[in-house]
């Protein structure tokens, strides 16, 4: 694939991420922050997010393990943290699930929480794959450019 095609692909992949609601404006903010001093800023941030979210997800799962004795306050706090983190990269769909989760939390509905959490993890993983693909393309296009 030549450079131009790659660039087009990058652009359309990026576009679709927004159009399909995976990402929001925050991602664009990150792109704006990328500069010569930090040429891979966006990718670095995304990686950081995903590596840190492992811990957050674990916290949430731990808090839901004992169904008969759930500390909803704590659970909500963890989810709050997770949501905050997701907002950093503009993970729109993930955040939506976070909000739903918190609603179930307020209602003390653990089953609901568990279900939503599954969906949330799926969204989280899907976005990750899409972003990885996207960054790959970006790299390729960049290489093609310098070639």
């Amino acid at each position: 694939m030549d450079r131009k095609q790659l660039q087009h692909q990058v652009a359309s992949t990026r576009r679709s991420l927004f159009d399909q609601g995976y990402l929001d404006d925050q991602f664009i903010q990150l792109e704006h922050l990328q500069d010569e001093a930090n040429p891979n800023f966006v990718e670095e941030v995304v990686r950081l997010f995903y590596s840190d979210s492992v811990r957050l997800i674990q916290n949430i799962e731990q808090a839901m393990i004992n169904k008969s004795n759930i500390d909803f306050g704590k659970l909500d706090d963890y989810m709050h943290q997770f949501k905050g983190s997701s907002s950093s990269i503009g993970a729109k769909k993930v955040m939506k699930e976070c909000s739903k989760f918190r609603e179930y939390c307020y209602a003390g509905n653990i089953e609901g929480c568990i279900k939503i959490f599954q969906l949330l993890k799926q969204e989280h993983a899907t976005l990750r794959r899409k972003l990885e693909t996207y960054f790959q393309l970006v790299k390729q296009a960049g290489l093609a450019e310098s070639a």
Partner: protein, 563 residues
Amino acid sequence: MENGFSSPRNDSFPAGLRVLVVDDDPTWLKILEKMLKRCSYEVTTCGLARDALNLLRERKGGYDIVISDVFMPDMDGFKLLEHVGLEMDLPVIMMSVDGETSRVMKGVQHGACDYLLKPIRMKELRNIWQHVFRKKIHEVRDIEILEGIESFQMTRNGSDQYEDGHFLCGEDLTLIKKRKDIESKHDEKDNGDNTSAKKARVVWSVELHQKFVKAVNQIGFDTTSLSCFYRAMTSNVCLAEVGPKKILDLMNVPRLTRENVASHLQKYRLYLSRLQKGNDFNNPVGMIKQSDSPLSDSAGSFGSQNSINLQPTDVSNGCYGFSVSSLVLHNVDPRSHDGDRKILVTTPVAEPKRGLTVDAPNPRKPRISQMEFGHPLAPHFNDGFSHLPMPGQKQLTRADYPQPARAISSAPSLTEREIGCPVKIKPSRNDYGSNASHVNSTANAVDSIPLQTKTNSTNHHVSSTSSMENQGLNMNCLTDVESSRKNINLGMPPFAPLDEDLQVRFVPGDYYMNLGLQNIEVPEYFDPSLLTDVPIHLNDGLRFDYEFYDPTEYSLIDQSLFI
């Protein structure tokens, strides 16, 4: 660039604004750092509130503004906010992904100068310099007020109170002077009376705070009834009815403005509400004890913040900032009332009643002498530690220190910490005597409070564990205050100098109360015989209500999270 902001005339203003960002989320930390750098600000990041406080304390005057997330694992963002406001008097911006009104309100109540919602846009960060600027301007005005009060106080307290007579540290002074140039109209206030010609923010000395509390109580509290105390504690109803104007009138302090009183009142309210919360819990000693309960940190800091925190900077620079006053406010609770007493307890800072000058135990004590906190602490202190004799104090000091390792993050120095809250209680024997009578009355009042009993029992409980903290010494309330910071070492002259670790310095004639909470191992040091020489009122003062300890607030204690 580092001092870019301190000299506003710098063309690149506000470039170089020194920002400290605190957020447990590494992703956000990275993003914010980048954004702030893009604004040409000088950024320092911190993943833990505790680290942030350490940094702030270590480098007084090293930051212009703090941005912190509301939710952090080791400490509630609001608590950090209070600490910073009290100790360093820096503008603090809160952040959160949660924009609920109640949270925002809480931020405002705790003194945040702004509340940002995540995701944060860079344009929102560009203008944060306005908060720093605004604060400086307000300080200038306060300084003018202070001048008058200063001279008034100095005359009263003797000139050695002010160490160098400098109330502001270098940069601040410069900045303020500059501001004064800009706002020359403020200069019309009575500068002539200011013998020291020093500018400073309104320093809420012990005496001044005493007057304040007295006025507040007169207006809204029933001075003698316990129910009032409870009422005050359970709802800030009393305080809510109190208006700054009324207080100002009652206080009758020349050159004190309604604004000064209003802001002091605000802090006082916060202080009371914290106590109130703590009150609900009667946190057992056990909880606090052993752990480096956050109380010590918080309490210490709190305590120190108010009065002493100024100190940290002050100590080093001989400057006194407003924080001192805030400290007083928070830590010192209105002495006149039982309820207050409680508060007092928490704030080691000094109970104005005592008229002791709380001085930081550290070697620099003389500096702190400026803070005349009377014996505020003494009475309470004694109460709380009824079984803690002076040695207890020693312990307290120790308590502070033991934690140093943990709580005080920068352990290095307790000395530094002390500086932070060098509250020097300098009663001098004579004063003590005179204060004693004063205190006695207070003490009596205090005694009447059942809480004390509780405390006592708790204390007993604690005795085994020895947590002074349990003593309720400020601990409860102090949670905010870092005990270490407090370094309010009320040394009782009659007692042999505390050891080393306590860093309690017994300066002849000086009383140092170490409000080290929490790890105060009182029992060990308790030596009844030591008490004999202790003035009665001192004993009274030792009682701390650790009932005020608010376990919820200090759940950290469990986690041994201290700042």
